[in-house]
């Protein structure tokens, strides 16, 4: 089984109600094609196989905010490393998105993206810095730019902005 398959199987354990439906390979391709076609509509939580040549990633996972730590533990067990954490301010949908990029350092190349949506007024998400210490600085930076609170972070102080900064510059409605 290729790494992409193995990772997908492991991540599907986050969605117990979807496991039964996805064992049929033809149905899998149909599912991912359908999900691509329905990109304009709201995407449902789940694992999607993406085309590496256009998107740059192999797997795309959408989950709830409280599932990111479980997803990080699965990735850690499979031997991935955390490459980056980004935040996106979706002001039109009144949501904030947190994107985790995972990558492998052996020959089986597989890039995985984990996304979670948070409400824009009170964006809170548990920290993954217990699993990956790299997240410590990435989360501090995302907090600086967007004001997202990472609950459980040991040291959530400004990293790139001055220590007494109380503004979050990358929000879409930020006025300097």
């Amino acid at each position: 089984m290729s790494m992409i398959e193995k990772t997908r199987e492991a991540l599907l354990s986050l969605y117990p109600d979807q496991v039964a439906a996805s064992d049929d390979p033809e149905k899998k391709e149909e599912e991912s094609a359908q999900e691509e076609a329905a990109a304009g509509e709201e995407r449902q939580p789940g694992v999607m196989i993406t085309d590496y040549m256009t998107r740059g990633t192999h797997l795309d996972l959408l989950c709830e905010a409280d599932q990111v730590v479980a997803a990080a533990e699965i990735m850690d067990r499979l031997g991935y490393f955390l490459e980056a954490i980004s935040g996106v301010d979706r002001i039109k949908e009144k949501k904030m998105e947190v994107i985790y990029d995972y990558n492998r350092s052996d020959e089986q190349a597989c890039r995985v993206v984990v996304r979670a949506f948070l409400p824009r007024e009170k964006p809170e998400i548990p920290t993954v810095s217990e699993v990956f210490p790299a997240a410590s600085w990435h989360e501090r930076e995302t907090h600086d730019f967007f004001g997202i609170r990472f609950t459980g972070h040991p040291y959530l102080v400004p990293l790139l902005l001055p220590e007494d900064a109380d503004f979050h510059p990358l929000l879409k409605d930020f006025k300097p």
Partner: protein, 173 residues
Amino acid sequence: MGKENVPSSVIQFAALDTLLNLGRANSLWPMTFGLACCAIEMMCTGGSRWDISRFGAEVFRPSPRQSDVMIVAGTITKKMAPGVKTLYDQMPEPKWVIAMGNCAISGGPFKFKGNYNVVEGADQFLPVDVYIPGCPPRPEALLEGIMVLEEKIIGKRRKSWPRRQPEKIGSLT
């Protein structure tokens, strides 16, 4: 930062002043204050191709207490600005400031509508003597800046390096 009165010297020299200025100008000791990309061009100027040592300025001192000129090479951000001012205050008189690169002159490429972190120019809080434009300026531009500063200190330009007039466009065939 309040106003500070720098008292004039108790002892006034006359003709000896010229000699002292000549000495100061020909041995300007810069402070290693490379902040960003312009610092690399400053290092190149200290290298062997564009030898800054010919003009007496190769002794880059890390400590402000031992330097004459602060070459602000790079972008000044709001977090760094108090540090720059402290370093400037720690330098003993007589001291000069060269603003090297577009960022030190006016914020450079980082001056845009949503600017929240870049100080637009070193002259917002420092008295700048020489401005060297470029992004980054070539080492030859930094050498010309040093010579302009020497001219400012002595009163006339070094005879062996006259200021070149720009060629008419199309005159080089």
